[in-house]
Symmetry: C2
Subunit: 324 residues, 2 copies
Amino acid sequence: MDRLTVGIDLGGTKILALIVAESGEILARAKSKTKTGLGVEGIGGQMHKTAEKALKRAGVSWEAVERVGIAVPTSVDPATGDVLHAPALGWRNQPARAVFESIFEHRVVLENDVNCGTLAECRAGAAKGAATVVGYFVGTGLGGGVVIDGEIRRGRRGVAGELGHEIIRHNGKLCGCGHRGCVEAYASKTAFCREFRRLILKKGRKSVLSDLTSDTTFKSIKSSVLAEAYRREDPVVCKVLRKGAWMLGVATANLHAILAPDCVVYGGGVMEALGPELLPEIRRGLEAHLFGITPEDVSLRLSALGDDAVPLGAACLAADTANE
Amino acid sequence: MDRLTVGIDLGGTKILALIVAESGEILARAKSKTKTGLGVEGIGGQMHKTAEKALKRAGVSWEAVERVGIAVPTSVDPATGDVLHAPALGWRNQPARAVFESIFEHRVVLENDVNCGTLAECRAGAAKGAATVVGYFVGTGLGGGVVIDGEIRRGRRGVAGELGHEIIRHNGKLCGCGHRGCVEAYASKTAFCREFRRLILKKGRKSVLSDLTSDTTFKSIKSSVLAEAYRREDPVVCKVLRKGAWMLGVATANLHAILAPDCVVYGGGVMEALGPELLPEIRRGLEAHLFGITPEDVSLRLSALGDDAVPLGAACLAADTANE
């Protein structure tokens, strides 16, 4: 009998559960909306239900499941499985892994979501065959993951791979983290929206965004709306997104000076919607700042796994530990 | 009979050769001035003579030597042992390892000097016991090395660890590499001298540097002179060096967001001369930009091995490959 793994992406808005065979094949999927008000136990119960729905679709029961891997939108202490702070879920100092293990009655592997996404792209996606891979995931924020010789690097306290908070412009734009000049302050939907407010609301620039979205204060904006405005060559949207992509290219050049990875993968909602348009802009920013290596030796790719990357990576990790 | 290793630091100004026992003990040292005009073969012969002098001092012959490790001031293609470009030595596209092997009649391991220094500090110096270590070496330029799980990270084409060329201020100060805002453009003797020229020669600021050095155009300056001026609280020197240390702290914060190493070691001529004064300034810059980890979890140390670090690291590496 095949030993199955459940891989779950616990996001701030949705939960996605996969049932994964030993071969890596995805047998079934199930989704639900995250009820963030529920706390760790409540969310644990909700994830359990979502996984059960996916198991039913795969025609199997919990007995066939060996391990559970859960990806969370924060860093996890690798020693304890505790979550120190997860703003997207409203958690602080939670013994999340322990709680989930008692709910699932299975060993649970807990890992940062973007670390999982990068691992999955390395094992089965855009970076398949590469040993050392860096992942950037452009969404509300800018997440990152570092995989070295096929393994996620966690670093002290599990905080490695926080690539969105690399400072590439000392004293630059204010970031949500309180520092200035982080790459996330240029290359994330939060950064884009702040620029839209400044350019459209304060400076009075014309933009099709005003027609495309009912959110006239640009608090948050869908990636599909960004893509529509970009394809219509809206000058405000093109300027802001190209600058963001350029700065992400600067950060990628830095990663080459530091680690010179085999491959860099770009995913997340914004790249899903605008990857083919933005990747050349990222490369331009990179090539203008590359040190010691020629552009031909740099491999930049778009995510191949989409929404499956994060839960599949969580499942890979859980399967790895089952084999230890 | 003990199998000995020769470790050589081939610098732009001097050659330092060590004879190292299997235990890691340094049995003898010898030095000579680098004759950079000689080319790869001539320099190879000069290194061979310097090593022979050290062997004589240790009272042993070449027969006792198992391997030779040579550290060079550039990156080395790990596959071929070729050196693409070493400005300090005037080399371009040289099959350096092959040439040295024919001269030494021994297997030669060739590696970037700062990578070697970081490895030695990790194995036997300030970072002993740490698995993942980042090294910054502040001299004419700003060198870097990354050791992960006890091994040097070379990356694609051997260019990983070029930490001086991480961009921390997009569109900032011009760096010798042609880019703007590299940390080397703030935290290196080249950067300091450029600021001295700007502040003292152009802006007319008073400084004791004018009394302490005969080089009135500040083309280059000895670390001991910098230290003397800093200790006399010269306002120009203090301002420039503190800003450099702060920026090095920003770069160190970035390395924590990316890799979260167990330890960061600072060496090189400037840190040898002013380590206790500059380390608190580096820490201030770091703590103002740290993400996701508390200052107590960050370990910053001064190099413990001084000039021995680089050739000892080369010897360690050569000994490692002899055991493979």
